[in-house]
Structures are given as C-alpha cells and as structure tokens.
C-alpha cells in the first residue's frame, strides 16, 4: 500500500490506516525515537503517540511527504519527553546531539535578527539545499533522524573520526551561514 492509499484510509476513518502506517513506517519512527531517547520503552510510547497524533491530524491535513510528516511528529514527541524527563533519566542520544549542536550556535553579530523557529527552519533548509547531496543527507541523518556518527561512518566506508570531522565542518558551516544572516538565538 502506498502513502496515498494510507492517507485515504485516514480520511475514511478506517483504523486499518494505523496498522498500515505501522507496517510501512513503524521501524522508521522507532529509529528516530530511539536515537533521541535511547530507552526502548519510552521510544515505543512515543511511536504509539505518533500514531494517535496522526489519526487526529489527518484529516484535515494532507501531508506532502507522509514519511517526513510522521518523522517530524515522532521527533517532536520525543523531544517533549526528553525535556520533561531529562532530570530523571539519562537520554544519552539526545544529550550527545545537543552538545554537538552547540557548534552551530551563531556568535554575537553586529546586526542581530532574532528569529522564530519557523524562520530558523527556513534558513537551515536553504543552507541544506546549498550543500552537495551527500553532505545534506549526512546532516539530516545525524541531526534530524539522530543516526550515530559510527553508523554513518560505516555506511560511507570511512572511520568514525573522519565522519566526526566531516560533521564538525558541517556544523561550523551552518553556524557561518546563520551568522551571515545575522541570526541571533
């Protein structure tokens, strides 16, 4: 069953939609949640919450990319759980990702522009669009899907330190791009 057919099931309020979503994208969503939360039980709860959220949002929403739509919901639910429970649990995946992203925070600039999250996303999207395909894919895999550096290094056939170096350059490049826009956070 393709994405369009699954979305049609949601519009028909057919609960088979959720089973089909799970069949097609369950592992994808669980991967995102696990990469952020590192604790399987919490990740599975987030994925179940994702299905419930999708059921509430479709209709009326018609996602352009069903996979990205699902992934974004899972990611948002996972980060919410991380923020709520970080004091009690050690979510190593998210902690590591956040520490890396400190490299992207723009330095103070002369003409500062305080941006909303949506505007920031647009800037980041523009920057990603300007990258070679592989760099763009690597950044999204690491910081959107949360894939580990070692995992990506293996996929690309290079060592983890080499991949870490490449990621570092990308983070610095994003920082520079945001500074160029005069972004202040």
């Amino acid at each position: 069953m393709d994405d369009k057919q699954i979305i049609e099931l949601y519009f028909a309020r057919d609960e088979q939609a959720i089973r089909e979503t799970e069949n097609q994208y369950g592992k994808f969503c669980l991967r995102i949640a696990m990469n952020i939360l590192s604790i399987r039980e919490d990740a599975e709860e987030c994925v179940n919450d994702t299905y419930y959220s999708v059921w509430k949002q479709i209709p009326p929403t018609v996602p352009e990319s069903f996979r990205a739509f699902l992934g974004r919901i899972t990611r948002n639910l996972s980060i919410s759980r991380f923020r709520a429970l970080r004091a009690k649990k050690r979510y190593s995946g998210m902690e590591i990702m956040l520490s890396e992203l400190e490299d992207c925070v723009p330095s103070a600039v002369s003409v500062e522009q305080s941006v909303e999250a949506a505007q920031l996303s647009e800037y980041i999207s523009d920057w990603l669009d300007s990258l070679p395909d592989e760099d763009c894919a690597l950044f999204v895999h690491r910081y959107w899907l949360g894939d580990e550096v070692q995992f990506l290094a293996t996929k690309c056939g290079i060592t983890a330190p080499q991949m870490a170096q490449r990621m570092y350059r990308l983070r610095k490049s994003l920082k520079a791009a945001l500074e160029e826009k005069g972004v202040a956070l």
């Binding site: 590192s38 604790i39 399987r40 996602p63 352009e64 990319s65 996979r67 990205a68 992934g71 974004r72 948002n76 980060i79 923020r83 004091a87 050690r90 190593s92 590591i96 990702m97 956040l98 890396e100 992203l101 400190e102 992207c104 925070v105 999250a117 920031l120 996303s121 980041i124 999207s125 990603l128 669009d129 990258l131 070679p132 395909d133 760099d135 763009c136 894919a137 950044f139 895999h141 959107w144 899907l145 580990e148 550096v149 070692q150 996929k155 690309c156 056939g157 290079i158 060592t159 330190p161 080499q162 870490a164 170096q165 490449r166 570092y168 350059r169 610095k172 490049s173 520079a176 956070l185």
Partner: protein, 543 residues
C-alpha cells in the same frame, strides 16, 4: 538553551529535503567513489617550489573530535537489577581503583591500606534555565562522583631508613573531563611527582561489533571489566613499558607541503573547493601519511592514490591547518599532479579552475615533521577547551604527547607491521585525536623515605566518576570498584574500606559488606579477593 533552538529549527526543515536525505544511498555513493579511476589534469597554474630539507612552521589548528561520542561501548550485558558475583558489567566502565606499588626494593616494608569512598559530591543539584519557548524550567542534575582517598601506612621494621620510588596508577585518558590526576600526600604534605603514561589499554573490534573477527579492527574496544585490568597489569610489564623511553621516529621521509591554498574563482557550484593530489605509488615500497587532508582514495592494485585538501575559507580557517602535508616513507611517489575540485572530493567531471597552491618538496626525519605538525600547533588545538576540560591535558608534557602518538603509530598505525583498519588511511589527525582520547593507565611516581623502625602515611586522593549504563534497567546505578593487589609489589598486612557521606545514596550491589542501615561503614577486606565493587543509586529524597 540555544542548542535546543537549533534542534527545533532542524526539526522544521522542509519535507522535500528530509525525503531526499532519507532516500540517499550512502553505500552506492561510497562504492562509486572507490571505483573511480585516476584523473591526471595538470593545472596550468601549478607552481612548484623545490626546497631542500627545510624545517617549516605550520600555521593551523585541528579540530577536537569527540571520541567519546556515544560513549564507550560495552558488550551489552548490563545489569538486570542485581549484580553478579563480580558486579555489573557496565556499558561505560570507569576502571577500577588500583593499588599503589613501588619500582624499588621494598624488603622490610609492610603496608596497611584503607580506601574511603566519600559520596559528598553525589547529590541532586537543582538548576534552572529558560527553554527555547522562553519558559522558565527547572531540572535536577545528578552528580555521580565520589571522592576516593586511598591511604597507605608504610612501616619499616628494619634498623635503616628505606628510600623508594612509589607508583600510583589510575585508569583514564589524556582528555578526561571527569577525572583529575590523583593528588599525593606523604604524612599530610603534598609531594612532587612525575607523570608517566601507559599505552592504549584496550583493543579493537569490527564495525559489526564482533570481537572475534581479527581481520577487522575498525572500532575501539576499551576495557569493560576488571578482569581485563587484571590481565593487563598483573605481570608488571605494562608499568615497565610506561616507564621506559618512547620509541624513536627518526626515519627519513619526503615531505610534500601544500601552502597558500586558495580559490579565486566565483563558480556557484564550488560549494567546497578542494585541491586534490593524484599520484602513483607502490604500496609494498611506500607508506604515506597526511595532515590537513580531508579524504582521498586508495587503489593499491593500480597504484593510483589521491588525497584532497580543502581550501581554507573564512569559516573554516581557524579549525584546520592552513598548510596540507603528505609524508612519504620509503620509495618516493611519482606522477604527482594537482587539480582543484568543486565539492570537497576528487570527483571526475567536477574539476574546478582557479584553485591555486604552492607545493614544496623537501626531506626531513619523520620525527622533525611530526613535531612540527603535532606539537608546535598544540596550543591552538587545546585553546578551544575550557578550563574544566583541561583536568589532565594541561599536565601532559609535549614529550609525553609526542611519544604517545609515536607509540600509537608503531602499535597500530602505518608504522606497524600489522596496521589496524582504523588507521590505514594514514591521517595524522586520527593519531593525534586518538592519543588524546584513548583509555590508558597512567602513573604518578614519587619518592618516599620510610624511617628505620617508623612509618609514613601516603594518601592518594582523586575524584572518581562512576561506571554506568546508557540505557536499560540499570541506568540509575553507578559502579565504583577497586583491586586489592594487582600488580603491586607491596606486602600488604591489612586492607580495609570505608564509606562516608552516604545520605544521598542507596547501595544496590556490593561485595564489601557495608550495611548503612545498621551503621556498618567500615569493613576489613579479604586479601584473597582480588576485586571489590560497590554499586549505588540516588536515595529517595526525604520530604
């Protein structure tokens, strides 16, 4: 926090970008890159500057790769609630507290030892912050370290003073944000000591996590159990090696140095201008190492090799060497050509004009060049660290850092007869970064005089982080452990252990015999037991 704003910004990136990235086939791209053949475009602008053996300063920095990303991997046999006879095998193992020893004759000396675990720092700290939505939130930070005081009473039963060099070992790494070097006091007075470093204490494993595939050594496999430390240290060879001189690196090498790398064009497709060196070499006769190179390709069958060097830009110049190096050991390379490329890699069809550089060729000893590259730039490399991150690094001498890099090159790098896959590309950045982060046992050596018929007290005090699991049922527990006499030449007559400031902890596993409810906070240790462990978690807060 600002990094969370970035995270939220990334969450909202356009869906078409996500879709494209998810579908990107890394494996195919990597395979395609490997198959590509040599391209030898000799650029019009290429400038050669031949130079006889000269020593050149390199201006540049490197980046501090976080080797601890993901933490140290264990074998996945984490706690199931109760510890076994030897305690939990943690995913991140901090290593045991080791007993003091001596490299001198200690005949006539007897030793009593007491180790104290002070859990004063182990507590909740309430912190507040403003989140990315501008809301004020508070969270509790759990401090999970213990202050360990390892005390020894050395008694001299002879009628002559006995002088000795005592040695206190500890597990750690040069870049260790959680540990300081133990402080040594003799009869309450701080004493001068000398630091020595052992080699990498762990081994390697395959990219698939297998520990039996001897031919694939792509990932580090650091020590995860006390038995591994016992095997490493029991015969004294590791300590003897740590105290010995570092290996020499005085081989003659040919140095190719790329300087004044620049891109003067305006091609919109030049997203990451790079200079590629293409050359021929016989891998049986030649070994190469690089510095400042961001990648390359090896084709041992045809003998065609490539190394590319990114053009420093305004954004990147502070984080990498301004000059690139290619070091050639053995037979010189030939058919060397240079060509610019658009997107950071050697890629046929994506050549880029107006990429310029000076290429210098000269001869030197490997040691001279490595010192120039790795040590003379050390300050720039470490300047990025804040003071809290310099707990151990600031006490590592240039000679120790250099010697440890040399050891790694000989043990597992391209100077080894059996090069580990992890290092077979010859990138010197890997050697330096690994040397900083690899686990090892280090030693503090100091002199002690035990008076005839008298005794002295030696205290080693250190902050010790607990071992822990990243996830799973045992995620709330931290482990602390010690070894009674591994590798020690002392004649121990008694060993005991104590625990203090326990109001914030609950003991969930141990073989010491502490009983907090009944006030048993000091116990005698059985010297026939080589290893003691203590596992704790945060006590419930009293309302």
């Amino acid at each position: 926090m600002k990094n969370e704003k970035i995270y939220d910004g990334i969450t909202g990136i356009r869906e078409d970008i996500i879709e494209r990235a998810v579908k990107y086939d890394f494996e195919n791209a990597a395979a395609k890159n490997k198959k590509e053949k040599k391209v030898t475009h000799r650029a019009q602008w290429m400038k050669w500057v031949a130079c006889a053996a000269s020593i050149c300063l390199v201006v540049g920095t490197g980046m501090f790769v976080l080797q601890n990303i993901g933490g140290k991997s264990g074998d996945g046999t984490a706690a199931e609630g109760n510890s076994g006879a030897s305690g939990t095998v943690f995913m991140s193992y901090a290593g045991p507290i080791l007993p003091m020893t001596s490299i001198s004759d200690t005949t006539g000396i007897t030793v009593e030892r007491n180790i104290d675990f002070d859990f004063l720092p182990y507590q909740r700290v309430q912190k507040g912050e403003v989140n990315c939505y501008g809301e004020i939130t508070s969270y509790t930070q759990f401090m999970s370290e213990s202050i360990v005081t390892d005390q020894y009473i050395l008694s001299n039963s002879t009628d002559k003073d006995i002088s000795m060099t005592a040695v206190y070992g500890f597990a750690g790494s040069f870049y260790d944000k959680n540990r300081y070097i133990p402080k040594i006091k003799v009869d309450g007075e701080s004493v001068e000591s000398t630091l020595y470093s052992g080699r990498y204490s762990g081994s390697f494993q395959s990219v698939f996590g297998s520990r039996t595939e001897e031919n694939d050594r792509s990932n580090l496999l650091e020590l995860t159990q006390w038995e591994s430390y016992e095997a490493l240290l029991s015969d004294g060879a590791y300590l003897a090696d740590a105290l010995a001189e570092y290996p020499k690196v005085d081989q003659q090498v040919v140095v190719y140095r790329l300087s004044e790398l620049a891109y003067t064009g305006t091609d919109a497709d030049a997203t990451n201008p790079t200079m590629n060196l293409s050359f021929y070499m016989d891998p049986e006769k030649t070994t190469i190492m690089s510095w400042g190179s961001t990648g390359g390709k090896n084709d041992p069958e045809s003998g065609n090799y490539h190394r590319h060097y990114d053009i420093p830009t305004k954004d990147w110049e502070i984080e990498r060497a301004e000059d690139g190096y290619l070091l050639v050991l053995g037979e010189d390379i030939r058919d060397l050509t240079m060509q610019g490329y658009k997107a950071g890699i050697y890629e046929a069809g994506k050549e880029l004009n107006n990429v310029t550089a000076n290429l210098e060729r000269y001869e030197a000893t490997l040691g001279e060049v490595l010192w120039e590259i790795l040590i003379e730039n050390r300050d720039k490399y470490e300047d990025g660290l804040d003071e809290s991150e310099k707990k151990i690094i600031c006490q590592i001498s240039d000679e120790m850092l250099f010697g440890s890099i040399a050891e790694l090159l000989y043990d597992y790098g391209v100077l080894s007869d059996d090069v580990a896959e992890r290092y077979d590309f010859g990138m010197l950045e890997d050697m330096r970064n690994e040397t900083y982060h690899m686990d090892r046992v280090m030693y503090v050596c100091f002199d002690v005089v035990v008076p005839a018929g008298g005794s002295v007290a030696v205290d080693a005090t250190m902050s010790k982080d607990g071992s822990f699991d990243f996830y799973g049922e045992g995620v709330t527990r931290e482990g602390y452990d010690m070894m009674t006499d591994v590798g020690s030449t002392f004649a121990f007559t008694n060993q005991s252990a104590s625990i203090s400031n326990t109001e914030h902890i609950r003991i969930v596993g141990q073989n010491f015999g502490f009983d907090l409810e009944n006030g048993i906070t000091k116990v005698e240790l059985d010297r026939s037991v080589p290893h003691y462990y203590l596992e704790v978690e945060q006590a419930e807060e009293q309302e």
